[in-house]
């Protein structure tokens, strides 16, 4: 990630104001931004859990039992609940971003934001239902 700025000889040093490490805690907007960015930790954590589950499935029924027992630990569950809230926050912010990232115009008019975001939510519901059916319907 080499940045390649074009240097100017004898350029005067820029004056930059020092920004506090906690700049994002000063305003609700920036705090929400950091919460959204931190959802990445929840996503990574979930992938680790998923890989653990798949690995357990590959080892045998006892391992699968043990995975399920772990998921029932109150502390793990509390942690998972927080992770779930973060993941939900990621989904909602992500879907709402679509109309801002690519506004759609029809007849010179900009389509309302909810109309661009709506297909995302529709896809979310359908995919979630299909996954739940695949996992729970196999009994």
């Amino acid at each position: 990630m080499k940045q390649s700025p074009s240097y100017t000889l004898y350029h005067p040093k820029w004056f930059r104001k020092r920004v506090s490490t906690w700049w994002w805690a000063e305003q609700w907007r920036s705090f929400k931004f950091i919460l959204r960015e931190l959802s990445s930790v929840a996503v990574i954590y979930f992938v680790a859990l998923l890989l653990w589950l798949l690995w357990s499935l590959g080892r045998g029924p006892d391992w699968y039992q043990e995975f399920q027992a772990w998921m029932k630990e109150p502390l793990v569950m509390a942690f998972n609940l927080i992770a779930f809230l973060f993941v939900l926050y990621h989904s909602i912010t992500w879907f709402n971003l679509a109309p801002k990232a690519m506004p759609i115009r029809l007849g010179g008019k900009r389509l309302p934001e909810w109309m661009v975001a709506a297909p995302n939510y529709a896809a979310w519901i359908v995919i979630s239902a299909v996954i739940a059916w695949l996992i729970l319907g196999g009994n």
Partner: protein, 116 residues
């Protein structure tokens, strides 16, 4: 002469992963970490879950979910450290750590799904 940046490539992985994570992670997390352990729904039996996971399409989908979500998370976490904590002088080290982790996780997912 400016060097070609690989930022666009990393960004495409980030956005693909963001979409796949947004669509699929909440339901999986909800089922396996809340609904099933709390007994709201019946836990799928070992054999049915194994059969599902062994299906080639399921393996492919799971591999995509794991890998792309990791690249998404890595990219976002990198900029959380970069902007949030302003650790700009360690930019390269952080990038190697984040994307390296995603590459490692992808390889691990490939191995686990191949072996299942």
């Amino acid at each position: 002469m400016s060097k070609r940046s690989n930022e666009p490539f990393l960004w495409s992985l980030f956005s693909a992963g963001g979409m796949i994570a947004a669509l699929m992670v909440p339901v999986l997390l909800f089922l396996f970490c809340l609904a099933i352990p709390l007994g709201w729904v019946e836990a799928p039996s070992y054999s049915s879950l194994l059969k599902l996971a062994q299906h080639p399409l399921a393996r492919l989908a799971l591999f995509a979910i794991c890998s792309l979500s990791l690249f998404h998370g890595a990219h976002r976490f990198r900029f959380t450290l970069y902007d949030g904590l302003q650790i700009k002088h360690l930019n390269e080290l952080i990038a190697i750590f984040c994307y390296g982790g995603a590459v490692f996780g992808t390889a691990l997912a490939g191995y686990i799904l191949w072996d299942i």
